[in-house]
Amino acid sequence: MSELAANLRVVRGLGMRSIRQTFRRPQLMAPILVFPTLLLALQTGGAGSAVHLPGFPPVQSFLQFMLAGAMMQSLMLAGNSGGIALAVDIEMGFTDRLFAAPIPRYTIVLGRLAGTAALGLFGSLWFLAIGLVFGAEIHSGVPGALIAIGLVTATATAVGGIGAAIALRTGSASVVQGLFPLVLVLLFLSSAFFPNELMIQPARAIAEYNPLSFIVEGIRDPIISGIRASALLDAVLAIVGIVTLGLLLSARALRHRLRVG
């Protein structure tokens, strides 16, 4: 077996463990599915008339507009949950088992991210299914749905990288858990739940430059209108930026963890 194949087996094994861990620990699952679903239901039910505001993008329904936001919330919390789970592993010494194994250290982070990616994929399918069940159309059809699924999965992985870096640096689940409100603030300061055009300053300016807005629009476009290459490219570039940041921070945090033990 080649070294690459062996490392991929390790990533798969750790990814499977990560998924099992999430499904067996309800407190990790709730933020990924339950909270975003409840928020989606509340916002769609309570603010559905917002679609008639001047400046609101043309959409079939508020639910159709909100699907991208719900997916973003789910994937951001999946990344945060992945960080919490890794910090719990550090606290209970499980990472020592991994660090003492003859595997490249990066496979430990990639294994965790593989699990987060799977949860992102699951979240995107869940919300697309909710949208379809409650009458939201995917304007670009199957290709649009696949683009949305791909972007959600990739973003979950990217955000998971940041969560993993913080977990490795701090080794504290409560610190990573403490980022939960920050995740929501970052989301509300993007176009996830409301169009940029209808925000007031300074939130509007922040949302226009918030990388999460680029990703949201990349996911939303194929759902509400059509596939635009520029929106897709912006989303991919934002994801690449977050992935790069996550990998750099994770690599530094891994080195730090070995230094401090």
């Binding site: 463990r17 099992r20 592993d89 209970m92 660090f99 003859p102 401090v260 033990g261």
Partner: protein, 324 residues
Amino acid sequence: MPAIVVEALERVFGEVAAVQGVDLEVDEGEIYGFLGPNGAGKTTTVRMLTTLLLPTGGRATVAGHDVVKQARAVRASIGVALQEAALDPLMTGRELIRLQATLQGLPSREGRQRADALLERVDLAAAADRRVGTYSGGMQRRLDLAAALVHEPRVLFLDEPTTGLDPVSRKTIWEEVRALNDEGTTVFLTTQYLEEADQLADNVGIIDNGRIVAEGTPESLKAEIGDPHVKLQLEEGSIAEAEAICAEIGKLLPPRDGRTVMVEVANGAADIPRVVRALDDAGIGVGSLELVHPTLDDVFVAKTGYHLEQEDEEEGAAKEPVGA
């Protein structure tokens, strides 16, 4: 070739020198007992030898590989069961050992076979599909040990494998360690239990405040302290006369009470008849007699000035010098 060679190993955390120039050597096929109280530097040393922590000075090789420059080769040669069994309570025992097999690079089929065989070996086959969180402390330690063995390592590191276990579970772990050693595995065992080191180890290193203060076989360390002594409880006759008779046979030790005589005997049990006959000839009645061998605790006291197991019981308390 020695399985482990450690030369002037050091680890400093800020202002605290946790390990200060440790030297030791462990031969292939040996059980090495690393004995010391909490905070002595045992776990820090093990973490450096298992590549989990970088040393700040000195060097060490495990299975012929440098722990810093050839860390991955070291990790392929060792099995590690750390203090506080590092297990995921949400996994089943079988899942954990299979994951460990994957981490060690075993092909899937071989990993499954090894997992089943090891679960059988540590008597966990019936509980293999239960979540680890439902296991008792002893079951968790056995599972941890099984996971450390999945790739048949040359050197096995066990960091306080029986701490907190009941006597039955402790004995089970001891039997397993002996069996592994009989199969040729070198074992580096840290412990704060004197009896554990005495029972299992071929060689013992005693560490205190980050330094090795004594090293050797348990027998040689105890022999350094002195010969065994006979402890006599007199029933009748003069204690002064008994002491005078015993002084001709061996070195008298300070008495503990008015009816006890303690005398060192160079030949151990072989000298008992001589002592009894001499007292009997003088008409001195002996109520009870005991041959007392020096213990590792005596060694520990001689080297550090305090009792290890007393320290263990009074965790966190200040070290009380003997006789203070």
